[in-house]
């Protein structure tokens, strides 16, 4: 009777008495999350709003490119390499073509070299504009993405005219480029360049000098200067820490050695300084594009290669590096003299930025900054996953 009333049924287990306190909990940023760049995941262990431990998780975009390349012909692979980094695909094409050229000692016509630089720099501009959009999105400023991504479309239209593809161009062939510039293309490129140049001050007004951005991005995601080299940062992330290293300068490829451009660097090594490095790189890229168009010689754009279906690249290996918009992008290609590459190792620019450096920088950060830190590193998950 009393047990009905008091519910005192002897089950006085009191399971909470000696239970541990739940202080830490998991937060997942990605893969289905707007605060993540692409299909990637940050698995955070959080206490309050401070990240105690951070772990990245990749592999959602893993397609096994390296394996696919081993199972396909040299010529087939041109079509798929661009897919390794989606926002900035051309360094892949460049690397792939240049690796074959290095192994097989293929000469690239001078005009083709200029065109390649043109394509690479346009791709860099597009990629940076894309990143600005993403970065602005992380602080909730949706006006800038609307502007910058639609401005990027102008660059994509140039690509479309030149190569037939908006995003993936399949344009660099071993031995040159697929086709010459269409007539009037130079002028259209110049128009787009001056358009973007005009737009940059507007971006400054709404984004780069925005009080909120200064408030949020400065002092966030600091990559310690003494650690930047040690942790293997490259590209804008390294330059944001004050080191003026650029593969285009240090290990020049194509005609970069003949072009004049500055390597912008930042001081504070925080999210804002990396962002500003990218912003100033756009100006440099515009200048490079102008120089390229100015200096571009006439001539053939492709040295004809043998029947692609029977094409055997001589045995050998090559390690080629390119400065992509994300950082150092390298391919290690081994050929055993067959019709397929024996091994292609893709060293994406983001393998350091998006994995270990990010994990280090997120530890101790706050969850409201996690996504911004990720975007400020501009890690590109497909490069990590391949």
């Amino acid at each position: 009777m009393s047990s009905i009333i008091t519910a005192n049924d002897g089950r006085d287990i009191m399971p909470g008495a000696n239970a541990p306190e739940n202080r830490e909990y998991n937060m997942f940023i990605g893969p289905n999350h707007p605060g993540i760049e692409g299909n990637f995941a940050l698995k955070l262990v959080v206490e309050g709003d401070t990240i105690v431990r951070a772990k990245t998780e990749a592999g959602f975009l893993h397609r096994g490119f390296e394996k696919l390349m081993e199972e396909r012909l040299f010529i087939q692979n041109i079509a798929i390499v661009a897919r390794i980094c989606v926002p900035d695909p051309d360094p892949n094409e460049e690397n792939y073509a240049r690796a074959i050229e290095t192994i097989a000692n293929i000469e690239v016509p001078r005009r083709a070299q200029f065109i390649r630089v043109l394509v690479l720099e346009l791709s860099r501009i597009g990629s940076h504009l894309f990143t600005f959009g993403g970065h602005a999105g992380t602080i909730g400023l949706y006006t800038l993405p609307n502007w910058s991504i639609s401005d990027r479309d102008r660059v994509l239209e140039l690509f479309e005219e030149l190569t037939g593809g908006r995003v993936y161009h399949i344009y660099n062939m071993p031995g040159g480029v697929r086709r010459d510039l269409p007539s009037g293309f130079k002028q259209r490129v110049l128009d787009v360049m001056s358009y973007i140049e005009e737009r940059l001050p507007e971006y400054d007004d709404i984004f780069f000098n925005n009080k909120i951005l200064l408030n949020r991005a400065q002092g966030i995601g600091v990559l310690p200067k003494d650690k930047a080299l040690e942790w293997g940062a490259t590209g804008p992330d390294l330059r944001g820490a004050g080191f003026a290293h650029d593969v285009r300068k240090d290990d020049p490829y194509e005609v970069y050695g003949e072009l004049e451009f500055e390597v912008p660097t930042g001081e504070a090594s925080d999210a804002y300084s990396r962002l500003m490095v990218r912003r100033r790189e756009i100006e440099q890229s515009i200048s490079i594009v102008r120089q390229v168009l100015d200096k571009m010689p006439e001539g053939p754009v492709w040295n004809k290669q043998p029947n692609p279906l029977k094409w055997r690249v001589p045995a050998g290996d090559a390690y080629v590096r390119t400065e992509s918009s994300k950082g150092e992008y390298a391919y290690y290609m081994v050929s055993d003299g067959g019709i397929r590459p024996y091994r292609v190792h893709v060293r994406g620019a983001s393998v350091t930025h998006g994995v270990h450096i990010l994990e280090h920088m997120l530890t101790g950060a706050r969850i409201e900054d996690a996504s911004q830190i990720m975007f400020s590193m501009d890690a590109c998950p497909p490069e990590v996953d391949r």
Partner: protein, 195 residues
């Protein structure tokens, strides 16, 4: 059966469908490289919001699950989890050739080759990758289908759950989504319509 359902639509259903089609939210999930064409579609140049299509963050809020390209097995697991979390009516749109037949990853060891074996696909957008114009035109035909009451593929998941489940299990074994799909179908009266 589908025809029967179509002819049985009341005036209210028609009005509702025509209102519903004006608001479609797409899950913000970049499953593959096609996601790179979505920002241009959303932003000023193509402005998807004209048609009431917006990206939405969590599966509970979304109507459209856009599979942007190839699906690795690892992602497929998450996609299925997310698909089951979405509230019906929900539409899976396969985007790009990879969802149709594996595309250029036809010999990849991690990507699935036919999306409709694992999820009920409402429509496909072919291409590698489809341009923003193609996306918008695709969505417009989805809007038309919804308005006409023809977009009912989501019911298929409840009705033929065993088929999908078998294929899913074949790829990665059992996963715990904490969601009992057949029971759901019975509870909401979706399975009754079949009988």
């Amino acid at each position: 059966m589908a025809e029967k359902e179509l002819t049985q639509r009341t005036a209210w259903d028609k009005v509702l469908a025509n209102l519903r089609k004006r608001s479609l939210w797409m899950l913000h999930y970049c499953t593959g490289c096609g996601a790179v064409e979505l920002p241009p579609t959303m932003t000023s140049r193509f402005d998807m919001e004209r048609f009431g299509i917006m990206p939405m963050v969590t599966p509970r809020q979304a109507d459209i699950l856009l599979i942007t390209g190839y699906l690795s097995v690892k992602t497929l697991k998450r996609v299925i989890l997310i698909y089951e979390q979405m509230v019906a009516p929900k539409y899976v749109v396969g985007f790009g050739s990879c969802t149709i037949n594996g595309g250029m990853y036809w010999n990849s060891y991690t990507t699935i080759k036919a999306l409709d074996r694992y999820l009920p696909v409402e429509m496909y957008l072919a291409g590698c990758m489809p341009r923003p114009e193609a996306i918008i035109s695709g969505f417009n035909s989805l809007i038309d289908k919804i308005g006409k009451g023809e977009a009912n593929s989501w019911k298929d998941y409840y009705e033929n759950y065993e088929f999908y489940k078998k294929n899913q299990d074949h790829v990665f074994g059992d996963i715990e989504t904490h969601h009992d799909v057949p029971a759901d179908g019975r509870y909401f009266g979706i399975l009754e319509a079949k009988r």
